[in-house]
């Protein structure tokens, strides 16, 4: 896929950059050139870039959010604090160094299902869910979530009762949203760690529901 913004006709849909080949794609060459220039000019340090990449590859991810949800399921006081101010409540758990400001947790109920999208770009609660998946950043999701959320849910194999209210949160500012899904039945007396194993990334975005106990045992 060509990167030149002025020559879209040079796009090659068969060159996906993650194809394995000895030839460097235009994208790889341009990114490498940009890094070379920024390094030579002293704006960035490649060793620091290595560490940033490593952080996103190894440290972040939906496991953080899963622990938050599991705690909310077993601790009503924490859940109340989470729904009141997610940044502060999660910050006190000590799972991550610091949670960014303006994080908002929204709770699913038997009558209400929440779904999060960013129609204008791809805003996503990185602190608790890690890097956004490709589908979240894709045109199909960004275009359809606000108009046809049940159709989007069907793409994920999720069907909600016809009378469940659906609330879609379009992340159009620097507020960020995470969904608190409903605790699955049959998990009474489960430990926080075991409950966390039921919490998927997608159920915290609102395009999925938690795993059932029988899915993990």
């Amino acid at each position: 896929m060509a990167m030149s913004p002025s020559t879209p006709d040079r796009d090659d849909p068969h060159d996906h950059d993650h194809a394995h080949g000895s030839e460097l794609s235009e994208t790889q060459l341009r990114v490498r050139a940009l890094e070379t220039i920024l390094t030579e000019k002293g704006y960035v340090d490649p060793a620091v870039l290595d560490r940033i990449v490593e952080h996103y590859e190894t440290k972040t991810g939906p496991h953080v959010g899963a622990r938050v949800i599991a705690r909310a399921w077993i601790d009503p006081d924490f859940k109340a604090a989470l729904l009141a101010d997610a940044t502060e409540a999660i910050g006190r758990l000590g799972l991550v160094n610091r949670v960014g400001d303006h994080l908002i947790a929204v709770e699913n109920t038997p009558k209400l299902h929440n779904m999060v999208v960013c129609t204008l770009c791809s805003c996503y609660p990185w602190d608790v869910l890690g890097l956004p998946p490709v589908w979240y950043k894709s045109a199909p999701y960004r275009s359809r979530a606000v108009m046809d959320p049940r159709g989007v849910l069907a793409d994920f194999g999720v069907a909600l009762p016809a009378d469940t209210e659906i609330r879609v949160w379009d992340s159009t500012a620097e507020t960020r949203f995470m969904v608190v899904p409903r605790r699955p039945a049959g998990t009474e007396n489960w430990s926080e760690e075991r409950l966390a194993s039921l919490v998927t990334r997608d159920c915290m975005i609102g395009t999925g529901v938690p795993r059932r106990p029988e899915d993990v045992s």
Binding site: L34, I52, N97, W135
Partner: protein
């Protein structure tokens, strides 16, 4: 601007296709792009709004055919030139032809932690918030040629203020070069039928995060 980035309610893009066991990056260059973006924002050269605005200014064909990290890379090429940090002939040459310009700070390994914390966009507010939860408001029917965070699909539509989120940096001003100009931010909820017509899902409500200048009383 009324660009292709403003996708809410568009048809024709097809199904959402989740990828099982998706890796953080699909190629090493994607990680380099993300890391460079983090490091450049740390220098104070630009902020997230200016980065988004640069991507929105890509020609529509380029925006739609580029992947997420390709858009970031293209946006960064634009940002470094616009901010006077790199010249176009250097991008073409693939190497620096002149020494760097002074920047506020350069990220070191000691400061890495700060690369991973999202900045705070809350600021002391001008006077009092104009609206309160429960107020009916109408999104203005505006079509600015510059950057804005009011999506087209709510413009001209009436909704209800659900929450006041504090006073935040106003992206429209930052990207116009007129400073942070903090504005009150609201969660405004719209009925699906008010946005999409009679055939809309009757159980649907959609909210946007709307800055006060986007709203009129309704």
């Amino acid at each position: 601007m009324n660009g292709v980035h403003d996708m809410g309610g568009m048809h024709g893009f097809g199904k959402v296709e989740p990828e099982p066991n998706e890796p953080p990056f699909h190629a090493p260059w994607e990680g380099r792009v993300l890391a460079m973006q983090r490091a450049m924002v740390f220098t104070g050269a630009w902020n997230i709004d200016i980065s988004r605005a640069a991507q929105e200014q890509l020609p529509p064909q380029a925006y739609l055919s580029a992947s997420y990290y390709q858009r970031w890379a293209l946006g960064m090429e634009r940002n470094v030139v616009e901010q006077g940090l790199v010249d176009a002939d250097e991008l073409a040459a693939g190497r620096a032809l002149r020494p760097g310009k002074p920047v506020k700070r350069v990220m070191t390994e000691d400061e890495l932690g700060r690369a991973f914390v999202r900045g705070s966009f809350g600021r002391p507010g001008p006077a009092q918030a104009r609206f309160k939860p429960g107020d009916r408001v109408r999104a203005k029917n505006i079509h600015p040629t510059g950057h804005t965070r009011l999506p087209r699909y709510v413009r001209g539509r009436a909704g209800v203020v659900e929450a006041v989120r504090g006073c935040h940096v106003f992206p429209d001003s930052v990207t116009a070069g007129t400073g942070e100009n903090p504005q009150w931010l609201y969660t405004v909820v719209f009925e699906g039928r008010d946005l999409w017509g009679e055939n809309a899902d009757p159980t649907l409500k959609v909210s946007v995060e709307a800055f006060e200048p986007y709203l009129d009383p309704a």
